[in-house]
């Protein structure tokens, strides 16, 4: 389990990283925390010709308030995000989801941006970014652009970042509505078999104005459960409504099977988790 030969470059600035990406060509890869890339290289599933290490770029790490949102630099370590007091207040679902991401040792190295850029469809952070309506900042030789999370994830391990571009930050809008994050994994720290990030907007009467239900582990990208969201919006979340949403999920989701769980189980669990998430988010005791 040793990687194939590769060049190693350590970039000092974002500009230098972009220049190196251009120079080294399509076979080069960005190295951030290495928690996904290095194992894949050791298994020789990835055989990049060069690595551009961005972990040392000063301006890329850190969390800053910008207007109504929190800007998380791409190389901010996951553990730093998890421990951040502003995240706890303005984006508590991010902190909750990070507790499910690997183990402490992985989070000490793994970066927030890396998790988004890696785009594992069973990963927690991508689903949360879509549910919260985060924006992703990308820099490349053609300049700077911002992509909404809903458009960022393209397919398995594929995002709208071009090979010569760099994800530089994630902007998290502050959302203070009811939320819940539910997941089932084989062991604590494993990628989700299925999980759901639920973010709601509810008025004083308890009527749901907006509902984002984003599932992980059921599609090749974080999956927005449109039909179930529609069931919820405009209504009060009751056990019956949650059950109805569950039924809609079970009949609309089409996950695939793997060695850990069949499609059938994943559909079922997705329904159960959505039901539980809705009840948890709105603070009602689950019944039945």
């Amino acid at each position: 389990m040793k990687p194939t030969p590769f060049e190693y470059h350590r970039a000092e600035t974002t500009e230098e990283a972009v220049r190196l990406l251009v120079e080294c060509g399509e076979e080069a890869k960005v190295l951030a925390g290495g928690q996904s890339l290095v194992p894949t290289m050791n298994l020789r599933l990835a055989q990049p010709s060069a690595l551009i290490d961005i972990a040392g770029i000063g301006g890329l790490a850190g969390i800053a308030r910008e207007g109504g949102s929190l800007r998380v630099g791409a190389t901010t370590r996951q553990s730093a995000v998890l421990a951040d007091p502003e995240i706890a207040v303005d984006a508590p679902m991010v902190a909750e989801a990070l507790r499910w991401v690997g183990h402490e040792a992985n989070r000490n190295r793994g970066t927030f941006g890396g998790s988004a850029a890696h785009a594992d469809p069973a990963a927690e952070i991508p689903a949360v970014l879509v549910a919260l309506g985060a924006d992703l900042e990308i820099t490349g030789p053609r300049g700077f652009r911002t992509v909404p999370a809903a458009d960022f994830f393209v397919s398995f391990f594929t995002t709208s970042i071009e090979p010569d571009e760099l994800l530089t930050a994630v902007r998290l809008p502050s959302r203070h509505g009811p939320w819940a994050f539910e997941e089932i994994a084989r062991r604590h720290g494993d990628f989700a078999l299925v999980g759901v990030a639920a973010a709601l907007v509810v008025d004083e009467q308890g009527i749901v104005g907006a509902c984002d239900l984003v599932l992980m582990g059921v599609d090749d990208v974080p999956w927005s459960a449109q039909a179930a969201q529609e069931v919820v919006v405009g209504n009060r979340v009751t056990p019956e409504l949650a059950r109805e949403a569950r039924a809609v999920i079970e009949s609309t989701v089409e996950p695939s099977s793997d060695v850990h769980a069949s499609s059938c189980y994943r559909s079922h669990a997705a329904g159960v988790l959505v039901e539980r998430a809705l009840l948890k988010a709105t603070g009602r005791k689950e019944q039945g």
């Binding site: 194939t4 062991r187 604590h188 059938c264 669990a269």
Partner: protein
């Protein structure tokens, strides 16, 4: 002296039974310990293996031209270059067709991951690059990945010469099984299929071989459990004169049986070093370990039980079908799962009528071999699940059901239907103690209350009896008749310090501590003055090594016997010097003195100095050299105990939360309770994996899907619940010191306890065991939360 040793020795007895801190831990915990991967020799080269990428194929050609042109390439050796004999069976076994595995595949590969060529390069990175470029052309053959497929009439054959894939098939019986079934009030029958899971030691295999042509010396460091057997095997197959071959076991990071047999890789690396005259190092990586170190635990077991109206067991039929994988290597590895499984399945049950069928079938999967509680894990798990299900159907509490059918203490020694003679123990007493420890009645109340809140708690029991010691007698009674023994030397040096050399080879069990405790008590010295050496064939006396819970009995026993001889010499020298009779002397705290007159005495250094340098004493009798080597091949002895699991299950999602696992262990005289508990804890962790997580999954082409730790799920510390271990101490009546073996019971029994607890939790849903391991999907299905397999719920 009784056969149980003289514990407590007059004036001694301070260390055996005490929680002596492990002598090996400071170096293990600080990283000072040196494993195979830490060995660096001048001019050493790295080895990687080219492994089969097909599960069953003829090798058409191997092209190494491009590979040899890569940087760092030294050699690529195939079966044609390394002419070594396959590892022979250590003993004849009637009816066993067991074609051995060659060191490197010859003409044909039979499982994916089989070694095809040895790549030697400057470093491991280059070796892997080179291995990738060795072009092997395969002509694919039909693949069989299950015993059912392999037994089909038109199945492709792994070994054409045999004309069948069935390597072994035998039915044995005791008593009147047919008669008992004819009389039965109830007959139950069920087929179980247990999961394939593996030892996964933290350290994989590793071999460093250094051939020095002019010294005519071949030195092999290997992460093995059996240094002497490896030496003897290498000498035979390479071939190389055994007296010029030295095997050294560096620190070993776990073995659990998987480092017991001689592997093809060990032979290939040694042979390559002989050929090249260079030191070579092969350090197995995790993927190789999952692919090609032995697999274990998978059996298909059909049980049929006859009961009378009172729930008394009348007879049992068992059929064990083992998936041997592609080869039988070295030992009777293809047999040990089903064969030992069937023999140990009755366990604690009072059984007069038993019929058991054992079948072993070759398939295109990784070869099966030993792993802690060999064969017995599947047997115990299925037996427990079966009995649990039957008790529920009959409306009998499972503990009552067990108690009614378990062997009583007053029936000891008990002649089990399988021919094994259980020497001693209070099996029901162990169960009762476990019942008390978990407050069974209280648990049932708690379970009721929880159910009314929609929470599902469960409890599972698994009483066990464990064949330990594996001397020749027990080997014979297990149906695998081989000579099995060990030696230990104990010597006192001129300064009065004690060295114990044993043929055992620790993989973390703490031999350096427990053997020192035994020697210290026998000799009456402080444990800190005893050092234990092991694992170097140039230093230790010959023996079989550490596996099958044999070290405490055979290692501890041989140390005890050798130390007793040295003790006699110490007493004789002191008697002569002090002008007293040896019977009037006692040894305590490192001093030999006249009983009742402690001032008339000698310290160990004084005795040692006299023994070595005092011409008057020494010349008297050369037997006064303070050293002895003793051989020990113990009689059979069986440990016992009971594990209980407490769980909470989410029936909708199928998740299992382990609340607690409680174990009662009776391993005879306990040398070090802390080490015994550590063994149980480790076994329980593996039981958690086996019951809930671990499974080797193949695709229909013989490809291993679970070839990394992303897919092969080991329990982490977070998955292992609190474990409580209690001790019972029924001295073994016939072994030296009264020791019984232990270490495997937890993996024999805790998986069954966990499985039964999950089923118990889901009993309101009418759950029964269907599939292992119990992942969330299997559990949700048991609870009826999911539609049938494949369907959409």
């Amino acid at each position: 002296m009784t056969e149980s040793g003289g514990f407590p020795y007059p004036g001694g007895g301070r260390f055996v039974g005490a929680r002596v801190k492990r002598a090996e831990d400071p170096r293990l915990l600080t990283g000072e310990a040196r494993y195979a991967a830490d060995i660096q020799l001048p001019g050493m080269l790295a080895v990687a293996f080219v492994r089969a990428t097909e599960a069953h194929a003829r090798i058409e050609s191997i092209d190494v031209t491009e590979a040899l042109s890569l940087p760092g390439a030294v050699a690529v050796l195939t079966a044609a270059d390394l002419d070594v004999a396959p590892v022979p069976l250590p003993f004849e076994f009637d009816g066993l067709a067991a074609p051995p595995q060659p060191a490197l595949a010859r003409n044909k590969v039979r499982f994916l991951g089989e070694p095809v060529a040895v790549v030697v390069a400057e470093n491991r990175y280059q070796a892997e690059d080179i291995a990738d470029r060795v072009r092997v052309r395969y002509d694919r053959l039909g693949v069989v990945v299950s015993p059912e497929a392999a037994r089909a009439a038109d199945a492709p054959l792994l070994f054409e010469d045999l004309g069948t894939n069935v390597l072994f098939e035998r039915t044995e019986s005791a008593g009147d099984v047919e008669g008992a079934f004819a009389e039965a009030a109830h007959v139950f029958r069920k087929t179980f299929h247990t999961n394939r899971f593996v030892a996964c030691p933290m350290e994989g295999r590793g071999v460093v071989a250094h051939y020095e042509p002019r010294a005519d010396h071949l030195k092999v460091w290997s992460s093995t459990q059996t240094p002497f057997l490896l030496r003897t095997t290498l000498a035979a197959v390479l071939p190389y004169p055994e007296h010029r071959l030295q095997v050294i076991v560096p620190e070993v990071g776990g073995g659990f049986g998987a480092k017991m047999s001689t592997y093809p890789e060990e032979v290939a690396v040694a042979a390559a070093s002989l050929k090249l005259g260079r030191p070579l190092s092969w350090i197995e990586d995790r993927r190789e370990n999952l692919l090609a170190a032995n697999h274990a635990k998978e059996q298909q077991i059909t049980l049929e039980l006859a009961l009378d109206t009172e729930g008394q067991i009348l007879a049992l039929r068992a059929e064990h079908v083992g998936d041997a994988g592609a080869y039988n290597f070295n030992s009777t590895s293809c047999l040990i799962e089903p064969f030992i499984g069937a023999r140990n399945l009755p366990g604690v049950l009072r059984l007069r009528n038993y019929e058991w069928t054992v079948v072993s079938v070759a398939t295109n999967r990784s070869p099966v071999g030993a792993f802690r509680a060999v064969g017995s894990t599947p047997g115990s798990t299925t037996r427990d699940a079966f009995l649990d299900e039957i008790a529920r159907q009959l409306g009998i509490d499972v503990v009552k059901f067990f108690r009614k059918n378990m062997i009583r203490a007053d029936e000891m020694p008990y002649h089990q239907a399988t021919g094994q003679v259980y020497d001693s123990g209070d099996y029901i007493g162990s169960l009762d103690q476990a019942v008390e420890l978990v407050d069974y009645a209280g648990f049932r109340r708690r379970q009721e209350e929880a159910r009314s809140e929609g929470r599902y708690l469960g409890i599972g029991f698994s009483p066990f009896v464990e064949a330990t010691g594996w001397g020749s007698e027990i080997a014979k009674s297990q149906g695998l008749p081989f000579s099995s023994h060990d030696n230990a030397s104990v010597s006192v040096d001129p300064s009065g310090m004690v060295t114990v050399a044993t043929s055992m080879a620790s993989q973390g069990q703490g031999h350096e501590t427990s053997f020192a405790q035994v020697a210290a008590d026998v000799l009456g010295v402080d444990v800190a003055t005893v050092r234990v050496t092991q694992g170097d064939t140039d230093v230790s006396p010959y023996g079989m090594g550490t596996f099958a819970s044999r070290s405490a009995i055979i290692g501890g026993g041989s140390v005890l016997l050798a130390a007793e001889e040295v003790r006699k010499k110490v007493l004789a020298i002191a008697a002569k010097t002090l002008e007293a009779s040896a019977e009037d002397l006692e040894i305590a705290d490192g001093r030999v003195a006249v009983k009742g007159a402690p001032q008339r005495g000698l310290s160990y250094p004084e005795v040692a100095a006299i023994a070595h340098w005092d011409l008057g004493v020494r010349s008297d009798d050369d037997g006064h050299r303070l050293a002895a080597t003793r051989f020990y091949d113990p009689p059979a002895t069986f440990s016992n105990g009971c594990f209980v699991a407490l769980v909470e299950v989410d029936p909708e999602l199928g998740t299992v939360k382990l609340e607690k696992i409680v174990g009662v262990e009776d391993c005879g005289r306990v040398i070090n309770p802390m080490i015994v508990e550590g063994q149980s804890h480790g076994a329980v962790a593996q039981a958690v994996g086996g019951a809930l997580l671990e499974h080797m999954v193949y695709d229909e082409n013989g490809g291993l899907i679970t070839s990394t730790f992303m897919d092969y799920l080991l329990p982490t510390a977070l998955d292992v619940p609190p474990i409580e271990i209690a001790h019972m101490e029924t001295l073994a009546p016939h072994t030296a010191g009264g020791f019984k073996g232990m270490g495997e019971g937890g993996l024999m029994s805790a998986p069954g306890a966990i499985v039964c607890a999950v089923v118990d939790a889901l009993s309101p849903f009418g759950a029964v065991l269907e599939e292992l391991p119990l992942g969330p999907e299997q559990v949700a299905r048991m609870a009826g939360s999911l539609a049938t397999e494949g369907g959409h719920s």
